[in-house]
């Protein structure tokens, strides 16, 4: 029985080669795309699930809010972890802290040769107890127990020691601190929001920091994780946290601080705080991928149903004859089902080949490659295979059922009318396919628009022609003025400043108080900067002036820079200077920029005189709105130690000369190797997620259009086959070829227009909602809608004309006689 099904099926599939091919390919591409998108979703949603007790691990976060300014920080003050464990031993089993000196990179040296390492953390010795990472060499119980111990990844081991045994080797951290390698990490395939290459024992900090940072309840640089005895103790602990805050946080803060708990599994997709330990993804993107996956699967199934129906209605005559000579209904039904089942099987195999081929080229939103284990997981393969078969079979039930069921007692003419009633159904499917394609096209176009907007938006400062040099922990911090003077000797360099964090990307928060209320400090977004900041970044001054340096020409012709202390009104050494933005001006209650000049704020360093007011500029990414912001001059040495980057503005097209000059000068000042990046490139990376999204949606919108086009192609070929006789007759009566092409395309163009009319408003709502998530976004442009519609209309016209022309150019008799 099965054998005879197989033979009939194969003969049938071969007879309609084009349909079979389109059907298989369409379904394969659809299932393949679905699979890839689901892998992406799976990848994004399985961060940090591997830890033994992942449901019991929480990150403690901190929110400081006062007068509507402040921060929501992923990191906490040093003592919180220990104190929590001490106070709530019944709730908390273990705590771990991560600390990276608040520096994105730390200089690491071996035998006098230094490199900046980005993924460097000090961690508590409980690290290996809490998180599921293993050591290839060394003992997890002891590796981080002693001060100055260091655990490194294989990559780092290879980088510094080559093939030599890493255990016991000494590395110099931050110039001057010797650490001993006590462990080498095992490579892990797990996805975690914790990304690191080097882990140093937390105890080391006791020796490195002479000040009692461990008792500081204000500075909050430590990512702090707690493991609860039971997952459900979370609420209990959460209830205790306000009391904890009141008990331990300093008086100035305690009313404005709140602590919260974040499940570790939620961090990657749901956390968007300041000072995240790594770049997180966003649940919204996962939803978008899920949506795309469903769309593609829908499009592929619609395509499949469409072709299967078309194919079966070409066979109404065959079915009638079979019935008249006695085939029974269920037999026919099973035969058709079997046929489509077979196509689905082919399609699934082809889909897996496609996925296998494409996966190595794919990465997630954070830029991590899709893990190999996912694609090698047979459960997933089986699951998706089953999915594909279910879709194949479900999609074929309608045509099989319809075909098997139509009434043989009626005469042959009903065969024609079946073809007709099926037309509505098929046209509906095509409209749906087109709607999905248009929706995806428009979304893609808008997402590219938004990306371009984010990259090119006016930030309020000039990010071009800026070279940024990381100088954290280098001796340059102490010889900054000399170094600057030296660099300004290069004619290609026009201006130099320095800053605590990268402008346009991130900021710090510092405490300031008003002179009339000197004891009440509020946290404001702010960064420490050096002289010529406004000049270097070309920020618009509304009143006052930059932190100026004055160029003095000496008698011998050399140049000397002086930094006038004129900012200070009272005490020369005790007072500093700040420049505020317009939002801060408003926050302070001034309407005119001029009025704020020479007013003072109070910082922990003393009085800070407002010497300038600048227009609002985007000191963080365009995902945020501009809030009050303070630029504070890093005048004394204590503050200078917090400065991490130098920014060098070069003359147009003279970047290369400038770089060469800096590279030559650099070694005279520090042993740390010279590294640099361009500010505009660095800031572009802020929108990597948007770029990835745009790329991914472009690919899958293309695929959607491709599948829909194939659906259109097969529908056309079906309709043309059905109307071939009519075409021949009309031709015999003298119709011209062009009139016939028009006659046939008209109906399809109507379908395309209908899908455009329905899809555009839906797409409008969709992209409008998406854009609403951005405080700064592009206006929706009509051109995107027109372009998407144009693509669909064009594709329809080309497909249909290609198809109809073939029949139209036949002789009338050939057209009339040919059997479809």
């Amino acid at each position: 029985m099965l054998g005879s099904y197989l033979i009939i099926t194969l003969r049938n599939l071969l007879r309609h080669k084009t349909f079979t091919f389109i059907n298989t390919l369409g379904l394969a591409v659809g299932i393949g795309s679905f699979t890839v998108l689901m892998l992406l979703v799976l990848h994004e949603t399985t961060y940090d699930v591997q830890h033994f007790n992942s449901r019991r691990i929480f990150r403690v976060t901190q929110e400081i809010k006062k007068n509507n300014v402040g921060e929501r920080s992923a990191s906490l003050p040093f003592p919180v972890a220990d104190q929590l464990k001490k106070d709530y031993p019944d709730l908390i089993a273990e705590t771990v802290r991560f600390f990276n000196m608040q520096s994105p990179a730390i200089p690491v040296g071996y035998k006098g040769e230094y490199h900046y390492e980005k993924r460097f953390f000090f961690v508590d010795s409980t690290f290996f107890k809490v998180f599921r990472f293993y050591l290839e060499k060394g003992n997890t119980k002891t590796a981080l127990a002693l001060p100055n111990s260091l655990v490194i990844s294989k990559k780092i081991a290879r980088k510094y020691f080559g093939d030599e045994e890493p255990i016991g080797k000494k590395l110099t951290i931050m110039v001057g601190h010797e650490f001993t390698v006590t462990g080498v990490l095992e490579e892990s395939n797990f996805r975690s929001h914790l990304e690191f290459d080097m882990l140093a024992s937390f105890h080391s900090l006791n020796e490195m920091y002479k000040m009692p940072v461990q008792e500081n309840w204000i500075w909050n640089p430590c990512w702090t994780y707690v493991v609860l005895h039971k997952a459900n103790m979370k609420d209990e602990l959460r209830k205790q946290l306000p009391f904890f805050v009141v008990k331990y946080f300093p008086d100035a803060l305690k009313d404005f601080v709140s602590l919260n708990l974040q499940a570790i599994n939620d961090i990657h997709l749901h956390s968007n705080l300041a000072y995240e330990i790594s770049i997180n993804s966003d649940i919204e993107y996962v939803h978008i991928f899920l949506g795309m996956a469903c769309f593609l699967l829908a499009i592929a199934s619609l395509n499949f149903i469409n072709i299967a129906t078309a194919r079966s209605s070409l066979r109404t005559k065959e079915v009638l004859v079979r019935k008249i000579i006695g085939a029974n209904k269920s037999e026919l039904f099973w035969q058709f089902l079997f046929e489509n089942f077979l196509i689905s099987l082919f399609a699934i195999l082809l889909a897996f080949v496609l996925v296998e081929i494409s996966v190595p080229f794919l990465s997630d939103l954070s830029g991590n490659p899709l893990s190999k284990w996912i694609t090698n997981d047979w459960n997933i393969a089986a699951w998706l295979g089953a999915c594909g078969l279910v879709i194949g079979v479900l999609s074929s039930i309608y045509p099989a059922f319809y075909l098997a069921n139509f009434n043989a007692s009626k005469n042959f003419k009903s065969a024609v009318s079946f073809g007709k009633s099926g037309t509505w159904f098929r046209q509906g499917l095509v409209v749906l396919q087109f709607m999905i394609s248009i929706f995806m096209l428009i979304s893609t176009l808008v997402s590219y628009d938004q990306l371009r907007f984010l990259r090119q938006a006016k930030l309020g400062f000039d990010k071009e022609q800026i070279i940024v040099l990381p100088i954290a922990f280098t001796k340059i911090l102490y010889r900054y003025d000399d170094f600057k003077k030296e660099l300004l000797g290069c004619p290609s360099i026009s201006s130099i400043t320095a800053m605590e964090t990268i402008i346009g990307r991130e900021h710090q928060t510092h405490e300031y108080a008003m002179p009339y209320n000197p004891d009440e400090f509020t946290f404001f977004p702010s960064i420490l900067v050096k002289h010529d900041f406004i000049k270097t970044f070309n920020i618009k001054l509304l009143a006052g002036k930059d932190f100026e340096s004055i160029k003095i020409f000496k008698n011998d012709g050399s140049v000397y820079y002086d930094y006038p202390e004129s900012y200070s009104t009272d005490s020369l050494t005790q007072s500093g200077a700040v420049i505020i933005n317009q939002a801060m001006l408003k926050h302070l209650g001034y309407t005119k920029a001029q009025d704020a000049l020479n007013q003072t704020l109070i910082s922990h360093a003393g009085k800070e005189r407002i010497i300038g007011v600048v227009d609002n500029f985007h000191f963080t990414s365009l995902h945020d709105t501009v809030s009050p912001f303070i630029l504070n001059l890093a005048k004394d040495e204590r503050r200078m130690r917090l400065v991490k980057y130098m920014a060098v503005r070069t003359q147009r097209n003279r970047t290369f000369e400038a770089l060469e000059y800096i590279a030559r000068t650099w070694p005279e000042f520090t042993a740390v190797p010279f590294e640099y990046f361009f500010l505009h490139e660095n800031l572009d990376q802020l929108y990597n997620k948007e770029q990835k999204l745009s790329e991914i949606s472009a690919i899958f919108a293309g695929i959607a259009v491709f599948i829909a086009t194939m659906g259109m192609f097969s529908l056309t070929s079906f309709v043309v086959a059905q109307r071939r006789r009519e075409i021949g007759i009309r031709k015999s009566l003298g119709s011209s070829a062009s009139a016939l092409v028009f006659l046939l395309s008209k109906d399809f163009m109507k379908l395309a227009m209908l899908s455009i009319l329905i899809a555009c408003p839906i797409a409008y709502l969709g992209v409008w909602t998406w854009l609403g998530h951005f405080p700064n976004h592009v206006e929706l442009k009509l051109s995107n809608f027109l372009l998407a519609s144009g693509v669909i209309l064009g594709v329809t016209l080309i497909t249909v004309s290609l198809h109809t022309l073939r029949t139209v150019l036949q002789t009338p008799v050939a057209a009339i006689n040919q059997q479809g």
């Binding site: 009519e726 009309r730 015999s732 003298g734 119709s735 011209s736 009338p812 008799v813 009339i816």
Partner: protein, 249 residues
Amino acid sequence: MIENTKILNLNKHNLFAPERPAIIKTVNLRKVYRSFNVETVALESINVEIKEGEFVSIMGPSGSGKSTLLNLLAMLDKPSSGSIAFMGTEVSTFSDRQMAQFRKRFLGFIFQNFNLIDELTILENVELPLQYLGLPKAERRKRAMEMMERLEVAHKKQFFPSQLSGGQQQRVAVARAVVTNPYLLLADEPTGNLDSAHGQEVMDILSKLNENGTTVILVTHSAQNAEYSQRTIHLFDGQVVTENINHVN
């Protein structure tokens, strides 16, 4: 362009001139059907000449190639080899566009199996050739209705072909072919499904058209119908066996 060919010079008034020019002339016409690697020679070495204003009938047993020949003469199909000249012009040189122009202006064709368009009503079917000629709607309606009344199918004008009997469909097909008052009419057994009264009517229409100058080529099994023609071509197994001149009525 069609306007540059001799077709435009066709003149219905020179019908009775002593030298009647050949309207269609075939030389060594051959038609082979190929399907499933089986070759069927439908026509072989056909040399016929049909003069302007003539009424010619083609007879022969079933499968002898009558329909095939008629299709070729109407340029609805392409010969495998040999040539067909229309008014002295080789047909194979016609472009697709010229062909369409030619068909709608000069040709009427009645298919053996009617070939009405299922999706159009009877009236629309009959109107169609007039529509292609670009006639205004009222004019089209009038002429189509006149012809349908003559053939007694006017009362079915809003019906679809599938709702008519075979004979009714055949009369609609005749109406559609003659409604343009074509210059050349090719009819493939136009009376096959008709009772004698209706058959008679169709034959009268053809004769009348012929008297008014239309060249008629008729395929028929009926010797009685062949009587209407001036000349009969007999086909057998794809070849012309005899041509006899009938008495001219």
